[in-house]
């Protein structure tokens, strides 16, 4: 009875079905753990949290230089910028837009820098459904390789005020 004092000899080693289940459950917990370091070394999708201290002003200046050097067009008034393969790409989040839009190539690797000008934002790449946190003061670097061509939409998925739902960006992959 769980609501009365246990028998005096309650300190007993598990046995029978309980013992079997304890073994199975513990083995499963070890599998759960092993998968993470294994994927870290063998898998292609990892969140390493690589990041550097920055400020909104400093980050914005780098984004402007990136846009000036690499702009290839506009989409609904926002510059489309083609990042150099193997090089840096930038996208900043602010209430309530992503800036600039990017043009990337399949199979090329980019260092995508994400940061915020104001509140926290969420970089959510759709319909791929990849999600990363964007925090002011942190230059969050994703070393990213697009695997399929197409037009992708960046949705903000961290609440950032009344216009949050309209904070939409674009990444074009050829």
């Amino acid at each position: 009875m769980s609501i009365t004092a246990p028998p005096k000899d309650w300190f007993q080693a598990p046995s029978g079905h309980e013992r079997v289940w304890l073994g199975m459950a513990f083995a499963w917990c070890i599998v759960l753990f092993i998968m993470m370091p294994l994927w870290h070394f063998k898998g292609k999708q990892n969140s390493t949290g690589e990041s550097y201290a920055t400020t909104p002003a400093a980050f914005s200046e780098r984004v402007d230089r990136f846009v000036a050097a690499n702009q290839v067009g506009t989409h609904n008034g926002t510059p489309i910028v083609e990042a150099p393969p193997g090089g840096d790409a930038y996208m900043l989040g602010r209430m309530w837009s992503w800036y600039p839009f990017l043009k990337l190539r399949v199979g090329e690797t980019y260092r995508l820098h994400l940061s915020s000008m104001d509140l926290q934002h969420g970089f959510s790449l759709q319909p791929m459904n990849m999600n990363f946190q964007v925090v002011p003061g942190y230059d969050h670097v994703l070393t990213i390789t697009p695997t399929q061509a197409g037009e992708y939409t960046v949705v903000c998925n961290e609440f950032c005020g009344i216009g949050h739902h309209g904070m939409i960006g674009k990444i074009f992959v050829e």
Partner: protein, 564 residues
């Protein structure tokens, strides 16, 4: 002091269970339970409005009120409803079960007044539109100072209640009011109380600097630092809910089926694992964040062995095994599932408990561990998959278990028999079924990339018909669950107001399984507590479902862009 003493030690013997009920403790259990139900209703009305807004076809609220109501919903449900209930449960577990008076009436009053004033302050600030910051209030988002002050006052009040619990444990031991070890339910409640102290400590560390910042007295704390510490509150407080819920499972299993733990040592050890291996660092919420590296994330996700998950997997076995043993002792020994088929399914205390166990384990537990895996979090973070997970743990699990508890608390502590009992018998199914549907809708919409905490998805222009169908499922599930919640609140409040008193006689029985064969020593000899094939079958099914879901998610992750 003498009058206070005589007040708190005055007691009656429960006419149903024969347990002692101390008048002083009973009074505060009642106060806390009533407040809990009031805040459940506030949070529930908010929930309905939210479900009807996220159901994109209905889209009831405008953006301003959507985020305001979302803030209200999170705080009233996750903090006010659950903590008022938990303080009541703590007072019960340390007085009635230990045959002791409550440590201090003054402390209980101070706790209660602080909690109520904090809750009213925070709710008022939210409804005035001064705190549209959601439950987490992530910096640099900033609310009115009184929003933080209200939560801090509430937390201090809850902490005083926890100290009162510890004080009672002390005087009970000192005065030798019980013999031997504390009962399992009290042990579990103690684990919850210890984790609550850890949670409130993190809360103070995170919210006090933000409170002083909002007053302009101190500089702005770093937003990543805030996320780390805030989740020391946010995640740890969910462990309080889990631990209290498991204690309630054991309690309800005992009251409804005469359950008996297969091995008290293993059950208690599992509670200790909760205390030791909860994620102090709350890493599950920072898995795709900047500022913390892969090593930190992998280590803090699991401490290498997932021992808190192991604890839940142990309870996943020992709780149904307790029921199986209790039922086998009553003579339900045929086959593997005779005990389960003959369980008192029309007893809302039992159905709420068992549905809570199944929803928590099969939906909440499996999704929680999977989404909290470091790399898999990339395809889950801040999508609707996350609320899809925690509505199965904290609503389908904890809230449903606490509702089941109320079907005993009201007759035994308020001494009133429930009105409209047939309605009460279907309520757990309605609520549990609704939450399950809603959780499925959320999880599948989230898998298709729909963000949580977002008023509208049309502006993104990427979601098709199947997503809208899933959001419709969310809406319909939400309506069903709200109906279940409303029935619960109306029945409970109605019973307190016009229910028949059962003073001087046992409570009206909800129905418990009859003993059909031998009783006593003879049955004891024939039932081996180490042989529970029914519970074993259930957990093997759980493990298979777990493995399928877990590896399916690794498969889905392998399909997305490469990223380091």
């Amino acid at each position: 002091m003498t009058t206070l003493q005589s007040n708190t030690t005055e007691l009656r013997t429960c006419d149903t269970t024969g347990l002692p009920v101390f008048k002083g403790a009973e009074f505060f259990i009642r106060l806390n339970a009533v407040c809990a139900v009031v805040f459940l209703l506030v949070g529930g009305i908010a929930a309905l409005l939210l479900a009807l807004t996220r159901w994109q076809t209905v889209h009831l609220l405008g953006p301003e009120w959507f985020y305001r109501v979302l803030t209200l919903h999170g705080i009233n449900m996750l903090i006010f409803w659950l903590l008022f209930m938990e303080i009541g449960i703590l007072y019960f577990a340390c007085t009635t079960l230990l045959n002791s008076r409550l440590f201090s009436k003054h402390l209980a009053w101070a706790s209660f007044v602080l909690m109520v004033s904090g809750a009213v302050m925070t709710n008022s600030v939210i409804l005035m539109g001064k705190a549209d910051v959601l439950l987490t209030s992530y910096l640099p988002l900033l609310a009115h100072p009184l929003f933080y002050l209200g939560i801090i006052l509430f937390a201090v009040g809850a902490l005083l209640g926890v100290f009162n619990f510890f004080g009672t444990l002390y005087i009970a031991r000192r005065d030798k009011t019980y013999a031997g070890s504390v009962p399992l339910v009290t042990f579990g409640a103690t684990a919850a109380a210890i984790i609550a102290v850890v949670a409130v400590g993190h809360g103070a560390l995170a919210l006090i600097p933000v409170f002083t910042f909002s007053l302009g007295l101190t500089p702005e704390p770093d937003p990543m630092w805030y996320r780390l510490i805030w989740w020391g509150l946010g995640h740890t407080s969910q462990q309080v809910n889990v631990t209290a819920m498991v204690a309630v499972w054991y309690l309800l299993a005992t009251l409804t089926t005469g359950a008996r733990a297969p091995n008290e040592f293993v059950c208690r050890a599992a509670f200790v694992l909760y205390i030791l291996f909860i994620n102090l660092a709350s890493a599950h919420h920072l898995l795709v964040d900047p500022g913390v590296g892969a090593g930190w994330k992998i280590w803090n996700t699991s401490y290498a062995m997932y021992l808190a998950v192991l604890a839940s997997m142990i309870h996943a076995f020992t709780v149904p095994a307790s029921v199986e043993i209790g039922m086998r002792l009553k003579g339900y020994t045929r086959g593997v599932f005779d005990w389960l088929l003959n369980a008192p399914w029309r007893n809302p205390g039992f159905s709420a408990f068992f549905l809570s166990l199944v929803i928590f384990g099969f939906i909440g537990g499996i999704t929680g561990v999977t989404l909290g895996t470091q790399q898999i979090n990339i395809i889950a973070h801040n999508t609707l998959r996350i609320p899809g997970h925690f509505h199965a743990t904290v609503v389908g699990g904890t809230t449903l278990a606490f509702m089941g508890l109320a079907y005993y608390v009201v007759p035994l502590i308020f001494q009133k028999d429930y009105i409209a009992r047939p309605l009460a018998r279907i309520q757990p199914y309605l609520f549990g079924g609704g939450i399950t549907l809603m959780s499925f809708g959320m999880s599948f919409a989230g898998s298709e990339g729909v963000a949580r905490r977002t008023w509208d998805i049309e502006a993104a222009g990427v979601y098709g018909a199947s997503t809208h169908m899933m959001l419709g499922l969310l809406g319909i599930g939400g309506i069903l669950a709200f109906t279940g919640l409303l029935i619960f609140v109306l029945l409970t409040v109605g019973t307190l107001l016009i229910g028949k008193s059962n003073k001087g006689r046992p409570m009206a029985c909800w129905g418990v399984p009859k003993t059909i064969t031998k009783i006593g020593a003879e049955a004891e000899r024939e039932v081996d507590p180490h042989n529970t094939p029914g519970a074993m079958t259930l957990v093997v099914i759980l493990l298979v479902a777990f493995a399928v879901y877990y590896f399916a998610n690794w498969g889905a992750l392998a399909d997305v862009w490469h990223v380091r």
